[in-house]
Symmetry: C2
Subunit: 178 residues, 2 copies
């Protein structure tokens, strides 16, 4: 049994999802939540250090409670513009720091890889991916979007790892898959 933490980093909200995957590739829901980085900072929205600290501390607390073995994070394929890329990069840097501090291996997956793993085609839309997350993990009700994306990334890593094992690929999975 391997426990996987999926992260969908964002500068205002970071999605977190945790699943267990067994040797056959079967997945089971453990935890999901959106980390709201803006909570309580309405008066100083611009205080980036405080937001990053909330992300770092929040993620570390989740790691300490749920003890994942591996981490998967969304790859940023194309940011809208330089300003949003910078904000996203800061959140992503903080998220990666939180998990490498606990010596966890991190892998990144592109949106296409996630869609392929969840829906079976790289051109699926976000709603289909979120629907499949709920169906695969047996969750009822509407999932918060960032948490659903984080679970989708964790499931993607579970599938890629299981395929690699079936194919007898012993080498450690590469950091990045597009």
């Amino acid at each position: 049994m391997t426990r996987i933490l999926g992260i969908d980093p964002g500068s205002q909200r970071t999605g977190v999802g945790i699943i267990d995957v067994d040797a056959t590739g079967r997945v089971k829901h453990v935890f999901h939540a959106p980390l709201n980085l803006m909570a309580g900072v309405a008066a100083c929205k611009g205080d980036l250090p405080q937001r990053l600290r909330r992300l770092l501390d929040g993620l570390r607390a989740i790691v300490e409670e749920h003890r994942p073995d591996e981490v998967a994070i969304e790859q940023v394929f194309m940011a809208k513009n330089a300003d949003s890329a910078l904000k996203l990069g800061q959140a992503r840097g903080a998220a990666i720091c939180a998990v490498v501090m606990h010596d966890l291996p991190v892998h990144e997956y592109g949106a296409r890889q996630v869609k392929l793993a969840l829906v079976g085609k790289g051109a699926a839309d976000k709603a289909q991916v979120q629907h499949m997350v709920g169906a695969m993990l047996g969750l009822t009700g509407r999932l918060q979007a960032d948490a659903a994306d984080a679970l989708a990334i964790a499931i993607t890593h579970a599938h890629v790892s299981a395929s690699a094992r079936r194919l007898g690929i012993d080498e450690r999975l590469a950091w990045s898959r597009k």
Copy 2:
């Protein structure tokens, strides 16, 4: 006496500079170094988690050794493109995490603010700024560029804080100054 840590974050190299400033605003050099995030990872240049961990651990070790009171970091005004903004953002996020973990207050300054503080005009070029850093701190020889930029940001914060004190501005300095 206040000890200020200046940081010039970069995805390959992060400049670090530390100065002491006394009540009159006089500055004294304590430490500077470029943190090379690529050292020893030539074979896996793409391993971002490893680079961010090197930045986080390197910066935390410097904080623990030199015990700064306050931190100043370069503001990213306009990144060249979304891809470089993302990389810079990740390094900046890791750098901010390293210092907020030690409860240090962080302030950011734009390039114009740094040039004004060091050279007296917002349109000064980088070489002039680096020359002034050496002159103000009594350093001889050519300074490594990233470390010089980090010292320049620390000096800028020293000047802005001293001016604020002289003007009787009691309130805590804002996080961001452009």
